[in-house]
């Protein structure tokens, strides 16, 4: 699903955000991506989402070598990736329904045709009945779940989450994580960037740890977590 081969990313100005990172995330796998702020988590996610291009190395997503993906094809690749953001990135002037339906509208669905899928997605995240609300009428946790519903509404094979629990209390965070687990259960690959080490420890999934742009650990959560925890 995701394959990084010796990927380095240097920003204009010379800052090297990623140094020869290699890893693979298989279809239907769930993994955490962790590390301090500035360790390169965001850069890694942005490379996957085609918001940045690798300076050196190869990134393969869904069998597409991103070096060969032209500007025009970028939107179509992104449709296969459900993205979830810490700040939700909802459209505040649109209803919850229209927010969730956005990926479907873009693919050419009409409002009527999108209804069933939107309702299924909102059901899944526990927000059934809020279709006509606006994002500002919802709590932070609910807004995050709207963002998740939008990410899954067109059933992408891969979910990327950037600090999805960043602004939530532990109980809500756990609920969100359980949600990701449930998507993973039906075969969706999930990559979650987070620095919530406690959460990672409880979940026992594969964890990729970045430090100063290098992949320093790739394995089960508890080992790097203790290491990192002691540093903290």
């Amino acid at each position: 699903m995701i394959r990084f081969e010796q990927v380095s990313k240097t920003y204009p100005g010379g800052f090297q955000a990623l140094k020869q990172v290699s890893f693979e995330l298989n279809n239907g796998e769930l993994a955490f991506l962790t590390g301090h702020s500035g360790a390169g988590k965001s850069t890694l996610l942005r490379l996957i989402a085609l918001m940045e291009r690798a300076t050196i190395g190869r990134v393969v997503i869904n069998g597409h070598d991103l070096r060969k993906v032209g500007r025009k094809q970028v939107p179509f690749l992104r449709r296969d990736i459900g993205m979830i953001f810490q700040d939700h990135r909802l459209l505040l002037e649109k209803t919850i329904f229209d927010n969730v339906a956005l990926p479907l509208y873009i693919e050419g669905y009409t409002q009527g045709e999108a209804r069933k899928r939107v309702q299924a997605a909102l059901d899944k995240v526990g927000l059934a009945g809020k279709e006509r609300h606006y994002p500002m009428m919802l709590s932070g946790g609910e807004q995050q779940r709207v963002g998740i519903a939008r990410a899954i509404v067109n059933k992408p094979p891969l979910l990327l989450a950037d600090e999805p629990t960043g602004n939530l209390d532990p109980k809500l965070s756990m609920e969100i994580m359980r949600l990701f687990e449930s998507f993973n259960d039906v075969g969706v690959a999930v990559l979650i960037a987070t620095h919530d080490l406690g959460l990672i420890a409880r979940m026992k999934y594969r964890t990729l740890t970045l430090k100063q742009g290098q992949m320093i650990n790739d394995g089960l959560a508890h080992e790097p977590q203790h290491e990192e925890g002691s540093v903290l």
Binding site: P75, R79, R89, P103, T110, K155
Partner: protein, 317 residues
């Protein structure tokens, strides 16, 4: 949640594309009403900018109609000596009538001339102070068709002005030539002016759309993140430009009609003095459609330039 892709048949994609276009078109129209002042200002700038060239066009068109009418009715006015009697005038007119190069002759006796002048000029009471009629008898000679061209008519004029009874003769061609040169000048100026104003319209629409795009930057970023193509994002803005043009065109119609009506009143005053049946004609249906088409075209072009530059420039960071 299975990871199956959305499968949509080619035909459905095609129909949905048009359904979606319609929705986006109506959506952009709704967007205009949400920002009525800004939209109205742009629409009015567009419409009023087109009004000036279209009104000038109407004026030029009408003056062309007038001058082509004048061309046909080339006539030679012969001003006769004042000491001629009425019967002398009559004989002279008959002699002219007998010429093969003359189609017909019209006599404007001095009394009749004075009467018309009194009625039409507005100097009626002033004329009462005159001791005697200052006007000469006039014989208007209409050449036959083949003598109406400029050179032939001038030849005829030279010949007729030699006649013993004639003090002076005039063929109103020189002023006609001057008028035509003047009209050509106005036409050229009109072209340049229209070009300038159209460029201004494109820039104004482009700038308005640019601001709209920048205002909705966050929304565009989100749309790009969930996989919207540039085309999908551009379409509502292009439709906005389209509506600007469509409504601006109607504004241009109304404003042109008002201006033409205004000018027509002034023209009517002049044509009465010239004893003419001339009526200023406004834009016909075809010209209205062309004006509308130009307005829509400019709106689209302006928005197209803006979206080409700015939608692509907004990338998620």
């Amino acid at each position: 949640m299975s990871s199956g892709k959305v499968n949509i048949s080619w035909f459905r994609r095609f129909t949905m594309f048009w359904v979606h276009n319609l929705q986006q078109a109506l959506g952009s129209l709704g967007e205009l009403t949400r920002n009525p002042v800004a939209s109205m200002m742009t629409i009015f700038v567009l419409g009023l900018s087109l009004t000036l060239p279209s009104t000038l066009y109407v004026v030029v068109k009408n003056s062309q109609a007038v001058t082509s009418g004048l061309n046909d009715a080339a006539e030679i006015s012969l001003f006769l000596r004042k000491d001629l009697t009425a019967s002398d005038v009559e004989t002279f007119a008959q002699r002219m009538q007998l010429r093969t190069d003359v189609e017909r002759v019209e006599v404007v006796a001095k009394d009749q001339g004075l009467r018309e002048f009194r009625e039409l000029s507005g100097f009626g009471s002033a004329l009462d102070y005159l001791q005697e009629n200052p006007l000469p008898d006039v014989v208007i000679v209409f050449p036959t068709a083949e003598f109406r061209s400029v050179e032939r008519a001038q030849g005829l004029l030279a010949e007729l002005s030699q006649a013993r009874e004639v003090t002076s003769a005039s063929l109103d061609l020189q002023w006609l030539e001057r008028l035509q040169a003047l009209i050509r000048l106005v036409e050229d100026a009109l072209g340049a002016l229209a070009l300038l104003l159209c460029s201004a319209v494109i820039l104004i629409v482009g700038n308005t759309i640019r601001l709209m795009i920048l205002n909705r930057r966050d929304e565009i970023v989100v749309m790009k993140l969930v996989g919207a193509t540039d085309g999908y994002i551009q379409r509502p803005f292009l439709y906005t430009g389209f509506w600007y043009g469509l409504i601006g065109g109607i504004v241009a119609w109304v404003a042109t009609a008002l201006l033409v009506w205004w000018i027509a009143r002034a023209v009517a005053g002049v044509t009465v003095l010239y004893d003419s049946q001339f009526r200023l004609s406004g834009l016909n249906l075809q010209e209205l459609m062309v004006l509308w088409g130009i307005a829509v075209g400019l709106g689209l072009l302006g928005s197209w330039i803006a979206v080409r530059r700015h939608v692509a420039a907004i990338e998620p960071r």
